[in-house]
C-alpha cells in the first residue's frame, strides 16, 4: 500500500535505524519517522478500532488534526502517532476500541476511612 521513496533512501544512506516493536513484532523504523510513518512503512493501514462501531481507522491527516491515528505507545493509550517521533526501543501497539482507565484505589488511603 505505502512504501518508502527509493530516492529518499538513496539521498540519506546514513539514516540511523531504530528498533521498535509493533504489537510485539520487531520492526526497523528510520530516524526522523513519526510513529504513523512507521506504521505505514510496516504495511499497516489501520492502527485502531473506533470506540462506538469498532470499525478500523488509520493515519489520515498526518498533521495532528483528525485523531484517527491513535495508538498505544510505551503503554500510554490514545497517543497521536502522527505527532510523535519513533525512538529506539519504542513499543507501539494498535489500539482496540476506547482506551481503558484504571479504577485502582489511590495509593494514599482516604482520610475519611477508618
Amino acid at each position: 500500500m505505502y512504501k518508502r521513496l527509493p530516492e529518499l533512501a538513496a539521498s540519506n544512506p546514513n539514516t540511523r535505524l531504530l528498533a521498535v516493536t509493533i504489537d510485539g513484532k520487531p520492526f526497523a523504523a528510520r530516524d526522523g519517522d513519526t510513529v504513523a510513518a512507521t506504521l505505514l512503512a510496516a504495511g499497516l493501514a489501520d492502527c485502531r478500532t473506533t470506540p462506538v462501531s469498532g470499525s478500523a481507522r488509520g493515519p489520515f491527516c498526518m498533521m495532528g488534526i483528525c485523531f484517527d491515528c491513535l495508538v498505544v505507545i510505551d503503554g500510554r493509550p490514545n497517543q497521536q502517532s502522527c505527532m510523535i517521533p519513533a525512538h529506539d526501543g519504542m513499543q507501539i501497539e494498535r489500539q482496540q476500541g476506547a482506551r481503558v482507565v484504571s479504577l485502582a484505589p489511590e495509593s494514599v488511603a482516604p482520610e475519611s476511612m477508618p
Binding site: P51, V52, N78, A98, R99, V101, L103, P105, S112
Partner: protein, 374 residues
C-alpha cells in the same frame, strides 16, 4: 379548508420544550406547526447536559418535585414511543444517580437541603440514601479520596439529549406535523378566533399558539397576554475523550455516555447573553472532576462549550394560559430533558383540551407577581 400556512396549533420554538409539546400535540392528530428560529438562536437544547434528574429539585415549590418525578416515571414509556415513532434510541438509562460532595461541609449542606425539600407539605416523598466514602467506593469504583460522601436516589438517570431533540422532530413529522426551521416569529397577536404569527416574509395562522421559545418568550409572551420574565444563566461543559465505560450511574456534575464520552458540567453563572466559555470556570470543572475520579487526570479534553439556561426568577418552570387571549399557552423551563416526557404526555393533552388542569396552577407566572419587599 385551511391554507398551507394555517394550523390547528402553532408552537413557537423548536427546542426540547417546543419539540416535546409539539410531538405530544401531533400525536393527538391535530395539525401542528413547529416554528424554529434558526442557528442564530441561543439553542439551550443543543448545549445541555442530558440528565433526567429528580433529586434536589423543588425546594420552595413542592409541585415542581412532583411534576419532575412524574416525568421521570413516564420517561421509559416516552422513550419507547420515540423508538417506535422516530426509529431512534435516545439511550435512556435510569440506574439511579449520585450527588457527590468534596467536603464535610458540602455533604452536611446537601443532606440538610434534601431533608428540607422532602419535608415540604404536598411533596410526594422519595427515599434518598446518604453514603460515606467507603459506601460510595463500593457503588462507584474509582472515586477519589477527597469525595467524602454523597447522596443517591433511585429515580435519576440520563439520556442522549441530541438524539432526543432529533427524535422529537422526527416523531412530530411522523404524526403529520410540520417543522419549519429558520422561522423567527417577530410578533404574535390574536386576530378574531385565531392567532397571527408574523415571520419575516410570512404569516402563520393557528387556532392555538404555544410559546416555547426559551429566552425569546420574554419578548413574545406580553403580545398575547402572558408574561415570561426569564433570564439567561450560563452553564459550561467539558467533554472528555471516549474511554471504556467505567461509570454506570450519572453524577449530578459528571456523566459518561453509553458511547464512552465523559461530560463534566453544572456550572452556574449570571453572564447575560454571553455564551462563551471562560478558563476560570473550566479549570474549576476540571479540578473537581479529577478530584472526583483521579483516573481522569490524563484523559484529554476534546471540547468545551457554554450554553444559556432559561431561568425564571424563582428557577421553576412557567406553564400558563392567557386569560385575555384564550388559546395562547406558555411553557418554559430549564429542564427540557427531564421534563420532556411530562411535556409530551401530560402537558400537550391539556393544551389539546384547551385548558390547563388545576394541578399546573402552581406553575402560573401569577406566583411571580408578588411585590418585592423594599
Amino acid at each position: 379548508m385551511s391554507s398551507p400556512d394555517e394550523f390547528d396549533i402553532a408552537i413557537v420554538g423548536g427546542g426540547l420544550v417546543g419539540g416535546a409539546v409539539g410531538y405530544g400535540l401531533a400525536r393527538s392528530g391535530l395539525s401542528v406547526a413547529l416554528l424554529d428560529e434558526g442557528d442564530v438562536a441561543y439553542r439551550a437544547s443543543r448545549g445541555n447536559f442530558g440528565l433526567v434528574w429528580v433529586q434536589g429539585k423543588g425546594l420552595g415549590l413542592a409541585p415542581y418535585s412532583n411534576w419532575t418525578q412524574l416525568s421521570a416515571r413516564r420517561w421509559p414509556e416516552f422513550a419507547a414511543l420515540l423508538r417506535a415513532d422516530a426509529d431512534t434510541d435516545v439511550v435512556l438509562e435510569q440506574p439511579g444517580g449520585f450527588h457527590l460532595c468534596l467536603s464535610e461541609r458540602e455533604l452536611e449542606h446537601r443532606v440538610q437541603t434534601l431533608t428540607r425539600l422532602l419535608e415540604q407539605p404536598g411533596l410526594e416523598r422519595y427515599p434518598f440514601e446518604v453514603l460515606d466514602h467507603a459506601a460510595l467506593a463500593d457503588r462507584i469504583p474509582g472515586i477519589g479520596s477527597t469525595v467524602v460522601g454523597g447522596t443517591y436516589t433511585a429515580l435519576d438517570g440520563h439520556v442522549n439529549a441530541l438524539k432526543l431533540l432529533r427524535a422529537l422532530h422526527a416523531g412530530l413529522l411522523k404524526h403529520g406535523g410540520v417543522y419549519l426551521p429558520n422561522t423567527r416569529i417577530e410578533s404574535a397577536r390574536r386576530s378574531g378566533e385565531r392567532f397571527d404569527l408574523q415571520a419575516k416574509n410570512k404569516t402563520f395562522r393557528a387556532s392555538k399558539v404555544v410559546l416555547a421559545s426559551g429566552l425569546g418568550n420574554a419578548r413574545l409572551a406580553p403580545q398575547v397576554g402572558l408574561v415570561a420574565p426569564v433570564r439567561p444563566q450560563r452553564g459550561q461543559i467539558l467533554v472528555l475523550e471516549r474511554v471504556r465505560r467505567f461509570l454506570h450511574h450519572p453524577i449530578a456534575t459528571l456523566r459518561q455516555t453509553d458511547e464512552g464520552t465523559v461530560l463534566v458540567g453544572d456550572s452556574q453563572e449570571e453572564a447575560g447573553f454571553n455564551d462563551s466559555v471562560g478558563m476560570a470556570i473550566l479549570a474549576t470543572l476540571a479540578d473537581r472532576a479529577v478530584r472526583t475520579f483521579p483516573t481522569l487526570r490524563d484523559v484529554r479534553i476534546n471540547r468545551t462549550w457554554a450554553a444559556l439556561r432559561v431561568m425564571s426568577p424563582d428557577g421553576f418552570p412557567i406553564y400558563d394560559q392567557s386569560r385575555a387571549h384564550p388559546g395562547a399557552f406558555l411553557a418554559t423551563c430549564h429542564s427540557g430533558v427531564t421534563l420532556a416526557a411530562a411535556h409530551a404526555l401530560e402537558l400537550a393533552p391539556q393544551i389539546v383540551a384547551g385548558e390547563l388542569e388545576p394541578r399546573l396552577q402552581p406553575f402560573s407566572a401569577e406566583r411571580l407577581n408578588v411585590q418585592k419587599a423594599a
